[in-house]
């Protein structure tokens, strides 16, 4: 890339910073700061490591496309989460329904399992997959709020910004989602 940018900034004077290089540095800073958060948001929806990574990459490509408006963004973290959220929802909509066995295998692979036997690990993955299957049956509005609320780094104000709704709506939807989930899981256990 360095060779690439040198080629593109060939005519820039050595004293002035090449704008392309400055853009790349900004982008690299954004990636190193927020890639982890965006990956977690993506994975929580897509539940596949490769797909989540693709979504993060696409989000930064969109950032690069709209680099002119980057200075106008007040909260870059929320802005980026909003971008990746829209991408993953779009991908999820387009993708066919994944079988639950895929979720179980993926969760067993990625979830931390320190001090757990292989059987416990499989059982925990099964349980998590069951929970996620119940989450999938929730109405879209409640499901989205519930999934974003699991991120401790996001406040309800930020969730409202990501979803483009008011904070009170976030709270009421979260309340409804919790009640629905309690009912669904109770039925599953019975």
């Amino acid at each position: 890339m360095d060779g690439d940018s040198k080629q593109r900034c060939g005519r820039a004077s050595p004293h002035r910073k090449c704008p392309l290089r400055a853009e790349e540095e900004t982008l690299a800073a954004l990636v190193s700061e927020y890639a982890g958060t965006l990956y977690r948001v993506s994975f929580s929806v897509l539940r596949n490591a490769a797909d989540a990574e693709d979504a993060v990459q696409e989000a930064f490509l969109r950032v690069l496309k709209h680099r002119d408006t980057l200075d106008e963004v007040r909260d870059r973290r929320v802005w980026l989460i909003r971008i990746v959220w829209n991408i993953v929802l779009d991908r999820k909509r387009r993708a066919k329904t994944r079988p639950e066995t895929d979720d179980v295998a993926e969760l067993a692979r990625v979830l931390p399992a320190e001090g757990l036997s292989a059987e416990d690990r499989a059982a925990a993955a099964q349980h998590h997959a069951q929970v996620l299957a119940c989450v999938e049956t929730l109405p879209a509005k409640e499901r989205e709020v519930l999934m974003l609320s699991a991120f401790e780094e996001l406040s309800s104000v930020e969730i409202a910004q990501v979803l483009g709704i008011t904070e009170s709506s976030v709270r009421s939807r979260l309340f409804r989602a919790r009640n629905l989930m309690a009912g669904l899981l109770g039925r599953v256990r019975q």
Partner: protein, 168 residues
């Protein structure tokens, strides 16, 4: 931003096990080398999209001969196309069309079930029979003889036919 970080799903009174699952997924660490891969992918993607193909120097559109050749080619294509269309079009022949009588919907909503109306047959022309003009004859002898002959003839014929032997 610092207002409320109390959105954690486990913070409420009705905290249940599902919240722990969601939080665990939300806390998953990013895979190693994610940043490098993303940066490399973004650079490759942006480079691929922004590439502009170089136009061959020999075929630069600024040169005059190139312009003339392009104009000639356009004229050739347009003229050839026009001629092709003209040569394929055939002259229209006079159409032989028999017009069908217009169906008039019967009043009251009933249809005529496809029946065709035929005009009433007209009376044919009456040809006058030519009358033969009889020659006017004077004198009473001849007609009287003729009448007598006719009567006798008929009587003779009748007798000869019925009783030929008795006459002898």
């Amino acid at each position: 931003m610092e207002s409320s970080r109390d959105n954690s799903v486990g913070g409420g009174n009705g905290s249940v096990g599902f919240e722990e699952s969601l939080r665990m997924i939300a806390r998953l660490p990013a895979p190693e080398g994610l940043e490098e891969r993303v940066i490399a992918g973004v650079r490759a993607g942006s480079g691929r999209r922004a590439r502009i193909l170089e136009f061959p120097a020999a075929l630069r559109p600024g040169s005059n001969w190139m312009r003339s050749a392009a104009a000639a080619a356009i004229v050739f294509v347009v003229a050839g196309g026009g001629w092709g269309v003209y040569s394929r079009v055939q002259k229209l022949q006079a159409a032989k069309v028999i017009t069908m009588p217009v169906r008039v919907a019967a009043p009251g909503g009933f249809s005529n079930a496809g029946a065709m109306r035929t005009p009433n047959t007209l009376n044919g022309p009456v040809v006058p029979i030519p009358v033969a003009v009889k020659p006017v004859q004077t004198g009473a002898g001849v007609p009287a003889v003729k009448k007598a002959n006719r009567k006798v003839g008929t009587a003779m014929v009748g007798k000869s036919a019925v009783q030929p032997v008795a006459a002898k």
